[in-house]
């Protein structure tokens, strides 16, 4: 199986076309296998302790604006994946306009999030520090606001989103839009690399998002999903899963 697709042009040269979409099925199969194995492993070996109560004092975890960002990004990524991947697997429809509109929405909200993170949020709370690496091996080490798994997920989504947005914007310049006519100014080989980066980051996003959705829906982590909808976790949940000395959370109404 190839990672990339090539075509031999009329002069006999090999031209890079983009990622090999055979990898899509590999990614889907691997993601599904990991999820199935993890679910079985957790069902058999998972530690079952008392579930922290969601009642009692509430602690603010996500501001409304950050929750809005998360869900707008989620919807736009979902639309991008559906419109980008379905035609590749044979479900053909007029996808391009929907795709680039969703791509622009994603670009705008990600830019907004970057600016907000730099100036209004605690950027360090999402950075992976050396002590975070002890978490998986030492149950006494609790995370601050975000666990190592959450930080890793965020780092992966950040890198892949920036790659897919950057390459997507280059591709956007190559089509006609209401604001400009395409220039077709890039060479075949440059475009091949752009399509390769866009396709590969899309494939890795599919895997990453599959895991994100799976872990978001796991029973012991549902309170994180609730916090991304309603904005809060209970004091009991915070104490059970986080180190309050590393997360100066305020009480919420």
């Amino acid at each position: 199986m190839n990672i990339a697709e090539f075509k031999r042009d009329v002069w006999g040269r090999e031209v890079l076309l983009g990622v090999s979409w055979d990898l899509l099925w590999v990614i889907v199969a691997l993601s599904f296998a990991f999820i199935a194995l993890h679910a079985i492993g957790m069902a058999v070996l998972g530690r079952r302790g008392p579930k922290p109560s969601s009642d009692g004092p509430r602690v603010a975890r996500h501001a409304a604006v950050d929750r809005a960002f998360h869900w707008i990004m989620a919807v736009s990524v979902f639309v991008l994946l559906v419109t980008g991947v379905l035609p590749i697997i044979g479900i053909e429809f007029a996808w391009l306009t929907i795709h680039w509109i969703a791509g622009l929405v994603l670009t705008v909200v990600v830019l907004f999030h970057i600016v907000r993170s730099l100036f209004w949020l605690d950027l360090k709370s999402m950075w992976i520090a050396p002590r975070d690496l002890k978490e998986p091996f030492d149950s006494s080490v609790k995370p601050g606001k975000y666990s190592l798994a959450q930080k890793s997920m965020h780092a992966a989504v950040t890198v892949l989103s920036l790659l897919v947005i950057g390459s997507g914007l280059v591709m956007f310049a190559m089509i006609d839009t209401p604001w400009w006519n395409r220039t077709n100014a890039l060479s075949e080989s440059t475009l091949g690399w752009v399509f390769f980066i866009h396709g590969l980051s899309t494939l890795l996003l599919i895997a990453t998002i599959s895991l994100h959705v799976y872990f978001g829906l796991r029973p012991e982590k549902l309170f994180y999903l609730r916090s991304m909808i309603k904005g809060w976790v209970s004091r009991d949940e915070l104490e059970a899963h986080h180190d309050s000395s590393r997360w100066s959370a305020g009480e919420s109404n």
């Binding site: 075509k7 042009d9 009329v10 076309l17 983009g18 306009t97 190559m174 006609d176 075949e188 091949g192």
Partner: protein
């Protein structure tokens, strides 16, 4: 690009029964190539711009030949030659726009062997694509025709989506004007496709011209009695009168009600990857009498929404003038 004097090695199947052809088409899928008159086929293979493991020659299948009257109009087998269509008295009496369109295809020699099915499903004439460049239509990442240096005089003014190629079929415009139904047959049975949805825009199917799926064979075309005996017009403008593809063509059907147009189909070829219905013109014609004044009144509507490329702005006045002529001189 290398040139070749001989055809590559290709297996040739010559089924005489439709069931055998369908089984072959199903088994070979995209590795097989359906052969009608061969007028579009041999160039592709000789230039090695397209390859197939095997050709399925449909000409020996009797069921695919002939023009038959049915309860609701006329059915034409897909392997019927263009010459037979041009000369058929029934078609000339009831659906004269189709023989008129078929008569303008290429040259007499080509019409003698070219089939209706082949003419309808033929690939675009964009020379960048036919030369074997890795353009969007060939599965690549760019369009050579729509670039600052691209030669796009013959390309589209409507319906572009990355690719700007046009359908070269003369009979396709007549099919859409007649509300024809295309019969696509596979081992799973028949699929009836209205002509308006048979041809594919690049926004949905950028690497093919029709919505035929691999394994499907266009076996027949059905012309509904609803348009039989109406007033028609066909005209094709090309650089040469013979053996050339349309720069712009027009096929029109007018259903007159007391001297005024009740319903109309006005379809242009050579302006999009599909036969392009001029729906605003059709709407504006309702209730008007055909004639020069009406043509003048509606002509500008023909090009509303057009997006010409660097070298094909001339297609816009050409379209408008063809609409004027269609209304001035319907048969």
């Amino acid at each position: 690009m290398a040139s070749f004097d001989v055809m590559p090695h290709i297996e040739l199947y010559k089924p005489t029964e439709l069931a055998d052809a369908l089984e072959l088409a199903d088994r070979l899928g995209p590795r097989g190539w359906l052969l009608g008159g061969g007028q579009d086929t041999y160039g592709w293979f000789k230039d090695r711009a397209k390859n197939a493991e095997a050709m399925i020659d449909l000409n020996g299948i009797e069921a695919l030949h002939g023009i038959r009257e049915t309860a609701d109009g006329i059915e034409i087998g897909a392997a019927t030659t263009l010459r037979e269509i041009v000369r058929d008295p029934l078609l000339n009496e009831r659906f004269a726009v189709l023989p008129a369109a078929a008569a303008r295809v290429a040259s007499p020699q080509i019409r003698n062997v070219g089939t209706l099915g082949g003419n309808l499903v033929q690939d675009t004439r964009c020379w960048y694509y036919r030369r074997g460049l890795a353009c969007y239509r060939a599965g690549g990442n760019l369009c050579y025709a729509d670039s600052p240096q691209g030669m796009n005089r013959e390309h589209c003014v409507f319906g572009a989506s990355r690719c700007v190629a046009v359908s070269p079929s003369d009979t396709a415009t007549a099919m859409v004007a007649l509300d024809a139904t295309m019969v696509a047959t596979s081992v799973d049975g028949e699929r009836l496709i209205p002509a308006g949805r048979f041809f594919a825009l690049p926004e949905t199917h950028i690497t093919r011209m029709t919505t035929l799926e691999p394994g499907e064979i266009l076996t027949a075309v059905r012309l509904p009695a609803r348009w039989a005996g109406k007033r028609f017009y066909f005209e094709k403008v090309a650089d040469r009168d013979v053996w050339d593809f349309a720069l712009v063509s027009i096929a029109a059907a007018f259903d007159l009600d007391g001297g005024n147009i009740g319903d109309a189909r006005v379809v242009c070829g050579g302006v999009a990857a599909v036969p392009w219905r001029l729906r605003e013109v059709e709407r504006a014609l309702r209730g008007r009498a055909p004639g020069a004044d009406t043509g003048e009144a509606v002509a500008a509507l023909a090009t509303r929404g057009a997006r010409p490329l660097n070298y094909n702005h001339f297609k816009l006045p050409l379209m408008e003038n063809l609409v004027r002529r269609a209304l001035r001189e319907p048969a």
